[in-house]
């Protein structure tokens, strides 16, 4: 039956059709990759991670140059942590091979999501790009990165370096793609396309909310606003060092950076003095007000301050602080929504409030998270397990860093939590994920389950594996069918495991970073 339909002319913004082409290509790549065996997957993951780590310094420098955010040395650390670091953290874990449970007569076969659309932020551009690529590769997904426009150049370069290395190690063509010129209509088209299997959104709340509104499965996480309770049992010197180090890290650009220190009155002055010794500058009342007006003009956070260093910020407020100042500490009295210092600060300005008792501090921590940051993270510095337990149970966050800086604590770099660039904020933070984002979040399992009747015996599945190593480049180059034995077929891919050179280079980079960090801490 025929029917004439006149559809209104739909004019799509430039770039949108190209984005769809990327999804179609990713669809083919994902289908091919979903059949790979674990050995090949591991080789691909190693190759991509090494390619990023080998240029960690360059990408860190370029990211700071392009965005104006952060500290090169710290970005190097994050770049390595989110490439080879992640790979090392999960080494030995297998997200590919079937898992056999003989007792329950269940075999679980990993099933990748397919096409992962990753939205990445300007604040941790390369680290997040790398992190999401590694997770996707480990779980045999294809990934399309949509970087924040402010960081698009460095993200493109990083993603391409990883893509080239992955394909050279045997990954399907197009397994990693990046949107070079992101725009709102393009991102929208990618998010709402039914061939996008899951969206992993890191960024501001609007990005995360629109990911959830897209109609596609989404993993998005909410913002942070980290309260830090310091009670009278804490080791003040160590606590001060940890907090200032963490707050200064990458100029507070991680969403896990400390927002407000809540100090028990008994140790508050001692803590402030210790802060000063660690390179913090404690603002006097009028200085504090000047910083407030500069960092929060008209009560709203000034994005020009994101990831800038403390001295520069002080200068903008007309203040002169010692040249080595790493953090500006702003004491204030009342944690309420109209107090700007009680909000998230992606710059090295640290709020400071005093409480008469640690128990009162728990209420204040809750007040901070009422403003923003629920589900995210909090920190406590204390020797009192009873208080630590009370604090953790009362404060609506899903991770509490104990006696460690929160920047690298909550993200698993200085704790044994899964290393991540994406902090699941759970139901409290309007997210579908409450854990640190990790490989398992990008796969489902097909579970084949036998009759529970004991007379029905499950045969041996050990050694059965549906996945195979590709025989050559994927896809094969389309050589004419009567010419397939010809030597002109593109050279077979080099399939050595990660080379000694790269491994050495990686160790070398690690050493360098450790040294840089030591130097930094000493200063």
């Amino acid at each position: 039956m025929s029917e004439m339909t006149y559809e209104p002319l739909m004019v799509e913004p430039a770039g949108v059709p190209r984005g769809r082409a990327m999804i179609e290509r990713a669809d083919w790549a994902a289908r091919a990759y979903a059949k790979y065996d674990v050995a090949t997957v591991n080789r691909i993951v190693d190759a991509a991670a090494s390619a990023l780590a080998a240029r960690a310094q360059e990408f860190a420098r370029d990211a700071v140059a392009e965005t104006g955010f952060g500290v090169v040395e710290h970005k190097v650390l994050k770049n390595v942590a989110c490439s080879t670091g992640i790979v090392d953290a999960y080494r030995g874990q297998d997200f590919v091979s079937p898992e056999i449970d003989d007792v329950n007569k269940i075999v679980a076969i990993p099933r990748p999501a397919g096409v992962v659309l990753a939205l990445t932020p300007s604040t941790n551009p390369v680290a997040t790009v790398s992190f999401k690529i590694i997770l996707a590769l480990m779980t045999r997904n294809a990934i399309i990165i949509s970087p924040h426009p402010m960081a698009k150049k460095v993200c493109s370069a990083a993603a391409k370096a990883m893509a080239e290395a992955a394909v050279a190690a045997g990954a399907p063509d197009g397994i990693i793609q990046i949107v070079e010129d992101p725009s709102i209509p393009l991102i929208n088209a990618l998010m709402t396309d039914e061939r996008t299997d899951v969206i992993v959104a890191t960024g501001g709340s609007p990005v995360v909310r629109s990911a959830y509104r897209s109609g596609n499965p989404a993993i998005g996480v909410g913002p942070g606003n980290v309260p830090v309770l310091v009670d009278s049992t804490a080791d003040i010197q160590k606590t001060a060092a940890r907090i200032i180090e963490s707050k200064a890290f990458d100029n507070s650009i991680l969403c896990t950076n400390e927002s407000v220190v809540i100090a028990e009155e008994a140790i508050a002055d001692k803590l402030l003095s210790a802060f000063a010794r660690e390179g913090a500058y404690v603002l006097k009342d009028e200085e504090r007000d000047a910083i407030r007006n500069t960092v929060f003009p008209e009560g709203h956070f000034n994005i020009k301050m994101v990831g800038k260093d403390a001295v520069w910020i002080a200068e903008q407020a007309g203040l002169k602080v010692p040249a080595k100042t790493r953090v500006l500490v702003a004491p204030f009295d009342l944690v309420v929504p109209e107090e700007p210092f009680a909000h998230e600060k992606l710059c090295p300005v640290l709020g400071f409030v005093r409480v008469p008792t640690a128990e009162r501090g728990i209420d204040i921590a809750r007040a901070i998270l009422r403003i923003t940051g629920a589900g995210h993270s909090a920190a406590i510095h204390s020797a009192n397990p009873d208080l630590i337990m009370k604090f953790s149970a009362a404060v609506p966050v899903l991770r509490v860093s104990v006696n460690v800086g929160n920047s690298l604590g909550a993200s698993g770099i200085q704790t044994n939590l899964p290393t991540t660039m994406t902090i699941g904020t759970g139901f409290a933070g309007r997210s579908s994920v409450g854990e640190n984002l990790q490989p398992k979040h990008l796969i489902n399992y097909t579970r084949l389950a036998y009759n529970s009747d004991v007379r029905e015996v499950m045969p041996a599945f050990a050694g059965l594996n549906p996945w195979v190593a590709p025989a050559g480049p994927v896809p094969a180059y389309p050589t004419a069918s009567n010419d397939r034995n010809n030597a002109q077929v593109p050279a077979p891919i080099h399939r050595e495991p990660i080379s000694q050179d790269v491994a050495e280079l990686r160790d070398e980079i690690r050493k360098l970073i450790v040294e840089e960090l030591h130097a930094l801490i000493k200063n």
């Binding site: 197009g174 389309p478 009567n482």
Partner: protein, 435 residues
């Protein structure tokens, strides 16, 4: 005056309507082409294409078919590709066919885009309104450049039906109209270098014209090195090499132009069909500076009112951009790989029936062990929801031409249907042989 209520016709297309498919076919025979209309009815493919989108065409009955014929690549990008539709529709706010007398905005822009993506050395573009005219332009251009008259083509070649082009092809189409000119258009066997050299030895040949893979002959593949050697012979005997890339261009071989896979820079390259985006007729001839001398000598030497119509140029510009994308190339490689592997599996099931797969990218000729084998398979494909056509000049061979933007799930479905149809055609042939 009261108007009696009349039931709306079942098939209403706005400017015209039909009461039924039967009525439509009757009128088709009465007013249009009785021979062709009856041929398809007799062939078991009574197709009247109605709705069309992506790689799907729908018969008037509503029957859906996956298009694996694409009318020779015309629908390379799918039917009514939304990007091309948008480009042409937008262009209609400003452009029309244009005026061939004058320098033209769109023709120049397309020419630049074609040259930038063409094999190096090609530097000028001349437009036709269709592939046949473009071939005629190519042949005239070669004759002008060499001041020689003979054109060598292969036996069973097919380059179109216009005045000169028809001479390069099978007698069936030239003799019908008393247009065969064997003295000017010698034909040599395909893949036969000796015959080619014999034809060229007299140094009286203006050009050799070759489809990179002869489509209508069932896509017999050039032997490895054959085209390269023909090019060398052309150089040796001062003949031009004309690459007819109408069916092998636009990424169908996994590279934008099939001829580049042979490392050949032709003197002249012809593109048509797919370059239109399936929406506005256009064809183009790309020539080297040396070959295109007549454009300086007499720019009005070839006149074509519709050749390079500006709306067609817009369709072609968008088409060329889509075809040139990195993503498209990658997808063609995936599609070619997948289709090739699945067909090899089918072939393993019917080794004495499905006897050959000729493949270069998404250009495929499927050979069957029966003189009319592809007609059987075509009919069973039609019944099972795939449209692919037999090769007119070798009906053992089915032309199987998946789209370059085919989605994986449609590719899978197409192969499921194809496998069944090949099996059913085999069963039919076996039954015929038994009875």
């Amino acid at each position: 005056m009261t108007q009696e209520h009349v039931a709306a016709p079942e098939f209403d297309y706005g400017l015209f309507s039909y009461d039924s498919k039967e009525q439509m076919l009757d009128k088709s025979k009465e007013f249009w082409n009785p021979g062709k209309t009856q041929f398809w009815i007799d062939s078991g493919v009574p197709l009247v294409i109605d709705r069309r989108e992506e790689y799907f065409i729908y018969d008037m009955s509503g029957k859906r078919l996956i298009d694996a014929h694409l009318n020779g690549g015309t629908y390379n990008l799918g039917h009514r590709n939304p990007e091309v539709v948008q480009a042409v529709t937008m262009a209609m706010q400003h452009f029309d066919i244009g005026n061939h007398h004058f320098p033209s905005l769109a023709r120049t822009a397309l020419a630049e885009a074609l040259i930038k993506t063409a094999p190096a050395g090609l530097s000028k573009v001349i437009y036709g309104s269709g592939g046949g005219e473009a071939i005629d332009i190519a042949l005239k251009t070669a004759r002008h450049a060499t001041q020689k008259r003979k054109i060598v083509s292969i036996i069973k070649a097919y380059h179109g039906h216009t005045g000169l082009a028809v001479g390069t092809g099978d007698d069936r189409f030239s003799k019908l109209f008393l247009s065969d000119r064997p003295e000017e258009f010698p034909h040599v066997p395909f893949n036969d270098l000796e015959a080619m050299e014999d034809a060229l030895r007299g140094r009286d040949v203006a050009a050799v014209i070759m489809e990179t893979i002869p489509a209508t002959y069932g896509f017999p593949l050039p032997n490895p090195g054959y085209l390269e050697a023909v090019k060398v012979l052309c150089e040796k005997y001062d003949a031009l090499y004309i690459a007819d890339e109408v069916q092998t261009g636009l990424m169908r071989t996994g590279e934008l132009w099939g001829i580049t896979k042979h490392g050949i820079t032709p003197d002249i390259l012809v593109t048509g069909k797919g370059i239109s985006g399936g929406l506005y007729p256009i064809a183009a001839v790309l020539a080297t500076e040396k070959a295109a001398g007549w454009l300086n000598e007499d720019g009005f030497g070839h006149i074509s009112t519709f050749g390079g119509a500006e709306l067609g140029c817009i369709a072609a510009l968008k088409t060329l951009e889509i075809c040139s994308r990195e993503e498209t190339r990658s997808m063609v490689h995936y599609i070619a790989d997948y289709v090739g592997k699945r067909l090899a599996e089918v072939q393993a099931t019917y080794p004495d029936w499905f006897v050959g797969i000729r493949q270069n990218g998404v250009i495929l000729g499927l050979e069957f062990a029966h003189p009319q084998g592809a007609k059987y398979v075509m009919r069973h494909l039609y019944e099972n929801g795939v449209w692919a056509i037999f090769s007119t000049l070798d009906p053992r061979v089915l032309q199987y031409k998946p789209g370059i933007l085919l989605k994986p799930e449609v590719a899978e479905e197409m192969l499921d249907r194809t496998e069944l149809a090949i099996g059913k055609a085999y069963a039919e042939i076996r039954n015929e042989r038994r009875s």
